[in-house]
């Protein structure tokens, strides 16, 4: 059984090809301005990497992410909330709280032992706690996204950034820079500020271990550490790139749909 999951996000497109319940290949690309184009490119590349020649080789495809309605070849679309939950649970079945930090939103899902969503909260009204926030901070600090993570881990006295609004936080950071505060401390302050936002979202759905981070920003180890400090529990490290959790979830649901379909067809 070969299936595909295609997660067209605001910042990146992710595709996963799954063969008999295992990941055959995955690809991450920056999003283009057309979701259908992003979907096509990322899926084609994932197919190629898996040694497959065309979309026809995929028996079922589920689209997810902001562009999920624009994945022209998908058999159906499922919300990224459900997909990230399913993907994180498949990667580590002890996970009960999923924190997904994407390009333009962040979500926290509490899930059950089957990976189904029990409750969720979502921030998609402002840039606080999203990739966009980190991008604007990285620009002001002139350190790149990776820099925020690596620099912050070196800090011994993180600066305090009270604003969670990216516009106000930016002016706060500029003030800190002009006060001569070390960049490492400001970077740690940025991660602490986002971790604070995530902390309150986690507490809204209820903190249940294990906690896992997914989405592009999950690669920020400084953020993971800051969140651990705030939550008072450790964050489970996933055995796969956390950015593809949504696409994995989509592929898992595709496999499920496919087997249900074949059950329904009398032999």
């Amino acid at each position: 059984m070969i299936v595909g999951g295609c997660d067209v996000g605001s910042a990146t497109g992710k595709a996963v090809v799954m063969k008999d319940g295992e990941i055959a290949s995955y690809i991450i690309i920056p999003s283009t301005t057309k979701p259908e184009v992003t979907a096509r490119i990322v899926m084609d590349e994932a197919l190629k990497k898996a040694g497959l020649s065309s979309l026809e080789d995929l028996e079922y495809i589920v689209g997810t992410g902001y562009g999920r309605l624009k994945v022209p070849f998908a058999n159906e679309n499922i919300s990224e909330i459900t997909c990230h939950a399913r993907g994180a649970h498949w990667l580590s079945n002890t996970v009960r709280t999923v924190v997904d930090i994407g390009g333009q939103d962040c979500k926290v899902m509490s899930i059950n032992d089957k990976g189904n969503v029990l409750e969720f909260v979502m921030n998609d009204r402002c840039a606080a706690g999203t990739g966009r926030f980190f991008e604007s901070m990285a620009r002001v600090l002139d350190c790149g996204l990776e820099g925020i993570s690596s620099l912050s881990l070196k800090s011994e006295s993180p600066a305090i950034i009270t604003s969670q609004c990216s516009v106000f936080a930016e002016s706060e950071v500029v003030t800190l820079i002009n006060e001569g505060i070390e960049i490492v401390d400001i970077a740690a302050g940025v991660n602490n500020s986002v971790a604070g936002r995530l902390n309150s979202m986690v507490r809204k759905v209820g903190l249940v271990e294990d906690v896992a981070l997914t989405g592009g920003c999950a690669k920020n180890e400084g953020l993971a550490k800051a969140l651990e400090d705030k939550l008072g529990v450790s964050v489970k490290k996933l055995p796969q790139d956390p950015q593809i959790a949504g696409a994995i979830g989509a592929a898992l649901i595709a496999a499920e749909k496919l087997s249900k379909q074949s059950e329904a067809i009398p032999s």
Binding site: Y66, L69, E76, N77, I78, S79, E80, I81, T82, N116, V117, L118, E119, F120, M122, D124, R125, I253, K257
Partner: protein
């Protein structure tokens, strides 16, 4: 999870002219029927909130309409007077007033139902030239003492209108108005009755349009048109391809497009606890009482389903929701609040706890008065249905 593709559009199988007119009425403030009334020299009085005593306005020979801010595209004029923590309904509604969109009104009636709406009053009477304005004092409690109080308030309104128009509003006129508005309520309940069916003949977005129109048109015409619609729906095939049956719990929600986004995900809205919904139609004013003003006071203070601004009424609203869940075979409840609405924030928090205890799926949504970002709503509604295993 079912085989929902997210592409199906739920809608009634009936082609109805009446329904189309109701839908059009939700898209404007002055709908064609109201326009006709005004052109014939008829007067219109607006009111804020579901406690506005429509019957007194009708008895004075005018058409009562509930104030909405449909079609508003900005709040820049209102923002000079109201604060950014006033709810977006108030800012849009006052903006329309400042723009002259409500200049056709003969009068406007407020109740101190919440602090946000009171601020519209404070500014409106200074900045907008509406011939008749009245602020009514709506009690916070619901005992017989407050019924007496509100009867006095109704009497003050009645006398002020009599003086303003140079007319007398007799008990006979009041009873006639009560009967007319009760008929509207009865007809609307018949519509809700149809929504209990396994295959309801009408969507939630369509039903909301009907209820909104009931507060926006001359009532005789509305009642006649609704009778027509009920006739058309009575033997309609009904909607079969839905994924789940939902109930909406909300404050001022008058935009069918909001419900439509939810229904595009396959969640058919079959009932509600809303003030453009059950809260204005579930009970009647007692036509057998001896005094019409007392009958009206009792209806608004004690008999109609209460809004969260009334003290100690949360348990009865919570029970109402749970009863409706059984009666309308509801699979999940969506509670929405407008940002900065303290009343509905508390209400949804408590309701969420009550529903969780009973294992009824519940989704909380934040909203601005004018819907922007359907994508955000779509994701939440879709994830909610998926989490219900639908």
């Amino acid at each position: 999870m079912g085989a929902w593709k997210g592409e199906n559009e739920l809608e009634t199988t009936v082609k109805s002219k009446a329904l189309q007119q109701f839908q059009e009425a939700t898209e404007t403030i002055v709908n064609p029927e109201l326009k006709k009334w005004i052109e014939q020299g008829g007067k219109v009085v607006g009111y804020f909130c579901s406690y506005g005593p429509e019957e007194i306005i009708t008895a004075a020979g005018m058409v009562p309409i509930r104030i909405r801010a449909t079609g508003s595209t900005g709040t820049e004029l209102a923002d000079a007077y109201l604060s950014s923590i006033n709810c977006s309904f108030c800012r849009h509604a006052f903006n329309m007033g400042l723009q002259g969109d409500y200049d056709f009104l003969e009068g406007l009636v407020w109740l101190n139902n919440c602090d946000h709406v009171r601020r519209i009053y404070d500014n409106w009477i200074r900045k907008v030239d509406t011939p008749f304005t009245q602020m009514m004092s709506l009690p916070k409690m619901t005992t017989d003492v407050q019924v007496e109080w509100f009867r006095d308030e109704l009497k003050i309104l009645k006398e002020a209108l009599e003086k303003h128009l140079g007319i007398t509003i007799s008990d006979e006129k009041l009873w006639k108005a009560i009967k007319l508005h009760n008929q509207t309520r009865r007809l609307l309940r018949q519509l809700y009755e149809l929504r209990k069916k396994d295959n309801p003949p009408i969507t939630g977005a369509e039903a909301l349009a009907v209820v909104v129109a009931s507060t926006a048109m001359p009532r005789e015409q509305f009642n006649d048109m609704l009778k027509e619609l009920l006739e058309e729906l009575s033997d309609a095939e009904g909607i079969t391809d839905y994924r789940a049956r939902l109930m909406i719990v909300a404050g001022i929600l008058d935009d069918p497009a909001f419900i439509k986004v939810i229904e595009e995900q396959g969640g058919l809205v079959v009932t509600d606890s809303m003030c453009f919904g059950t809260r204005i139609l579930w009970t009647d004013v007692n036509e057998g009482a001896s005094d019409p003003l007392t009958a009206l006071a009792r209806y608004y203070i004690q008999d109609k389903p209460a809004c969260p601004r009334m003290f100690d009424t949360q348990p009865q609203r919570s029970k109402f929701v749970r009863d409706m869940v059984k009666e309308f075979k509801v699979d999940g409840v969506i509670g929405e609040r407008m940002i900065f609405c303290d009343l509905w924030t508390g209400e949804n928090f408590m309701l969420g706890g009550d529903l969780k205890e009973e294992g009824i799926p519940f989704l909380k949504l934040d909203r601005e008065y004018i819907m922007a970002g359907a994508g955000q709503l779509r994701t939440r509604a879709q994830a909610f249905l998926e989490s219900m295993g639908r």
